[in-house]
C-alpha cells in the first residue's frame, strides 16, 4: 500500500479550478517533490491530502484512509506531520514550551529535547519564540512538524527564508528522517532542493501534472543532448579538432552532441595523441531548472546549454 494515492483528483472553488485530474502515488519511505509555479495547485493538493480541505472529485488515500473521512481524521493526524508554508508559532512561548505542548497531542511523540537538538536550537531552547530570528522560527516550524514522530511528513516550502547553512541543516534532517523510514511529500521552488532530496518529482502546471519521474530523468532529462566544453589548446585552431565545435563566447569552445561517449572518446584520444591539454573540460546535461521552465512556460523543455531534450509525456 502506498503512503499516498491520488487518482483523478479535482478541486474547484465555484468556477475557479484549483486542480484537475491529478494522479500520483508516493511510496512508503520515499521523498516525493511537487514542483510548480505559484497558483499551480501544489498547496491545494497537499491540503487535501492532509484532510484540511475537501476535494471536489477523485479518490485520495493518505496512509490508507480517506483524509476527508471525519471518523478517522483524528487518527490520521497522529500519523502525519505538517510544516506549513508560512510561520505559525505563538510568540510568547519558549521553544521548549511550544514543543512540549504539541508533543502532548500525539500518542508516541519524539522526546522534546531530541527534536530541539535535531533542529539546531539547543542554545535557544528556553528563549521566547519572538526573540528567534526568522530562520530559527522556520526551524522550529520544522520541529513542530516532526514532534509527533510522523509516518508521513508534509513539507510546504520548508526552507524558504533560511540561510544557506540553515537550508543544508534542514536537508540533512529530511535525509535523516527519510533514512529512518519517514515518507516525505515536499513542495518547493528550489531545484537544487529537489535534486538533493527527492526520489521522485512531479511538476504541476495549469492545475494538472505535466511531468513526473526521478529528478535525473524527468521529461527525458537523461536522454537529451549534452554540451562538452573546454579551453582550446594553445596553437590549435578550431578546424583541427576531431569533432565540429563552436566558440562559446567566454573563451571556451563547445560541442553539442547526443553521442557524448563517442565524442569524448574521439576528443580525448586526439588530445592524448597530440599531447594537448583540455583545460576546463566539462560535460553538461540539461538542468532540472531548464526542464522545469520549459514545462511551465508551455514551450517544452528549454535547451540546456545549447541542447534540445525530449518532451516528457503526461503520466
Amino acid at each position: 500500500m502506498p503512503a499516498v494515492s491520488v487518482e483523478h483528483l479535482s478541486k474547484s472553488y465555484g468556477d475557479t479550478v484549483a486542480v484537475r485530474d491529478v494522479n500520483f502515488e508516493v511510496e512508503k519511505g520515499e521523498v516525493f517533490a511537487l514542483l510548480g509555479p505559484n497558483g499551480a495547485g501544489k498547496t491545494t493538493t497537499v491540503e487535501i491530502l492532509e484532510g484540511f480541505r475537501d476535494r471536489t472529485g477523485g479518490r485520495v488515500e493518505t496512509l490508507g484512509v480517506d483524509p476527508a473521512d471525519h471518523s478517522t481524521q483524528r487518527w490520521l493526524r497522529t500519523r502525519i506531520g505538517v510544516v506549513l508554508q508560512e510561520l505559525a508559532v505563538e510568540p510568547y512561548y519558549s521553544v521548549r514550551q511550544v514543543l512540549t505542548r504539541n508533543a502532548g497531542y500525539y500518542p508516541n511523540p519524539r522526546p522534546v529535547d531530541e527534536v530541539i537538538d535535531l533542529i539546531g536550537l539547543t542554545e535557544k531552547r528556553d528563549d521566547r519564540i519572538k526573540r528567534l530570528s526568522g530562520g530559527q522560527q522556520r526551524r522550529l516550524d520544522v520541529g513542530l512538524g516532526i514532534i509527533g514522530n510522523p509516518d508521513l511528513l508534509f513539507l510546504d516550502e520548508p526552507t524558504t527564508g533560511l540561510d544557506p547553512s540553515g537550508r543544508r541543516e534542514t536537508w540533512d534532517l529530511i535525509r535523516l528522517l527519510a533514512a529512518a523510514g519517514t515518507t516525505v511529500l515536499l513542495t518547493t521552488h528550489y531545484m537544487d532542493e529537489v535534486e538533493a532530496l527527492a526520489d521522485r518529482v512531479a511538476v504541476l502546471f495549469g492545475q494538472e501534472i505535466v511531468a513526473s519521474g526521478s529528478p535525473t530523468s524527468i521529461a527525458g532529462r537523461d536522454l537529451g543532448a549534452v554540451t562538452i566544453r573546454f579551453r582550446l589548446p594553445e596553437g590549435v585552431s578550431m578546424d583541427s579538432l576531431p569533432v565540429p565545435a563552436e566558440p562559446s563566447g567566454d573563451g571556451l569552445v563547445e560541442i553539442h552532441t547526443e553521442d557524448e561517449l563517442q565524442v569524448l572518446h574521439d576528443l580525448t584520444g586526439w588530445a592524448l595523441a597530440g599531447r594537448h591539454a583540455l583545460q576546463g573540460l566539462s560535460v553538461l546535461r540539461v538542468s532540472l531548472e531548464d526542464i522545469y521552465l520549459g514545462l511551465t512556460e508551455g514551450a517544452g523543455p528549454r535547451r540546456g546549454n545549447g541542447s534540445d531534450v525530449q518532451q516528457e509525456v503526461r503520466p
Partner: protein
C-alpha cells in the same frame, strides 16, 4: 504505520480527552500570563476603573433601583464589564490574530480535536473573567464596604450565561473581522461605545430612549442582571435579561458555524 495497526475511528476517547482539555487550558493560561503587559492591562483595567469609580461615587444613590448606593451599582456593572472584556472583546481579537497568524490552521492539522481547542479557549476566557470578578468583589468589599451578591444563585446564573453568550458572540464577531489590523479597532470601538451607552459608567433609567435603544443589545441586559442580582433588588427579575443574552449567544453560535475559517482571510 505498522502493518497490523488499523485506523482508530471517532474523536472522543473518554477521560483521557478531558485531561487533554485541562492540559490545553494550562497552556492557554501560560500563553496569557507570558504576555505580562497584556495580562496586567486586561486584569488591571477593570480593577483600576472600579477603584476610580468607587472612590468618586461618594454617597450618591440610584433612585430607580431602590435607592442603592452608587458603589453598589458600579461594582456589579464592572463585574459585567469584566465578563464582556474577557469573553467578548479580548477573545474576539485573539481569535482573529490566531487565525491570521496561521495558528488555528496549525492546530487544525494537529490531532487536537476542534472541540478540545475551543473548549480550552472558552475555559481560559472564563478563568480570566472570574479572576477579574473576584478581584473586584474583594476590592469592593474590603476597600469600599460594598456588599454582595445578595442573591447568589441568580448572580452566578447571570455570570455563567453571560460568559457563555459573550464567548459565542466573541467567536462569531471574530469571523466577521477580515484581518488582524482591523481586529482591535473594529471590536473595541463597537464594544466600548455600547458598553458606555448601556450603563457601565452611569445608570441608565429604564424607559428612557437610551435604554430602549440599548435594550436591543445583550450588553445592557448583562449589566442590569448583574446589578439586580448583586443587590437583590425587590421585584426585579433576571429571566428576561438571561433570555435575551441566551438568544444573542445562539446567534453568535450560528454566525460562528456559518462563517468559521481555519485559514487566514488576509482581507
Amino acid at each position: 504505520m505498522s502493518a497490523t495497526e488499523l485506523p482508530v475511528k471517532g474523536s472522543f476517547r473518554g477521560v483521557g480527552d478531558l485531561r487533554l482539555v485541562a492540559r490545553q487550558v494550562r497552556f492557554e493560561q501560560l500563553s496569557f500570563w507570558l504576555n505580562p503587559i497584556g495580562a496586567v492591562l486586561t486584569i488591571g483595567f477593570s480593577v483600576v476603573f472600579i477603584v476610580i469609580f468607587l472612590s468618586t461615587s461618594g454617597h450618591s444613590t440610584v433612585g430607580y433601583l431602590a435607592h442603592i448606593n452608587l458603589g453598589q451599582y458600579y461594582l456589579p456593572a464592572f463585574a459585567a464589564y469584566g465578563i464582556m472584556a474577557a469573553c467578548f472583546n479580548i477573545l474576539a481579537i485573539t481569535m482573529v490574530n490566531r487565525r491570521e497568524m496561521g495558528l488555528l490552521k496549525r492546530l487544525r492539522l494537529s490531532p487536537l480535536p476542534t472541540w478540545m481547542l475551543l473548549a480550552a479557549i472558552f475555559i481560559n476566557s472564563m478563568i480570566i473573567a472570574v479572576i477579574q470578578i473576584v478581584l473586584m468583589l474583594l476590592v469592593g468589599r474590603f476597600g469600599y464596604n460594598v456588599h454582595g451578591p445578595q442573591d447568589i444563585p441568580a448572580f452566578v446564573l447571570v455570570v455563567v450565561v453571560g460568559m457563555l453568550s459573550f464567548t459565542a458572540l466573541g467567536v462569531g464577531v471574530s469571523t466577521l473581522v477580515p484581518n488582524a489590523d482591523a481586529a482591535g479597532p473594529v471590536v473595541s470601538l463597537v464594544f466600548f461605545i455600547l458598553v458606555a451607552l448601556s450603563g457601565l459608567y452611569f445608570p441608565v433609567k429604564p424607559g428612557s430612549g437610551l435604554s430602549t435603544f440599548t435594550n436591543f443589545f445583550p450588553i445592557r441586559h448583562l449589566i442590569v442582571a448583574c446589578v439586580d442580582s448583586f443587590n437583590g433588588i425587590p421585584g426585579a427579575s433576571i429571566w428576561n435579561d438571561v433570555l435575551v443574552m441566551a438568544l444573542w449567544g445562539v446567534g453568535g453560535v450560528i454566525v460562528s458555524l456559518r462563517r468559521w475559517e481555519w485559514s487566514p482571510k488576509r482581507g
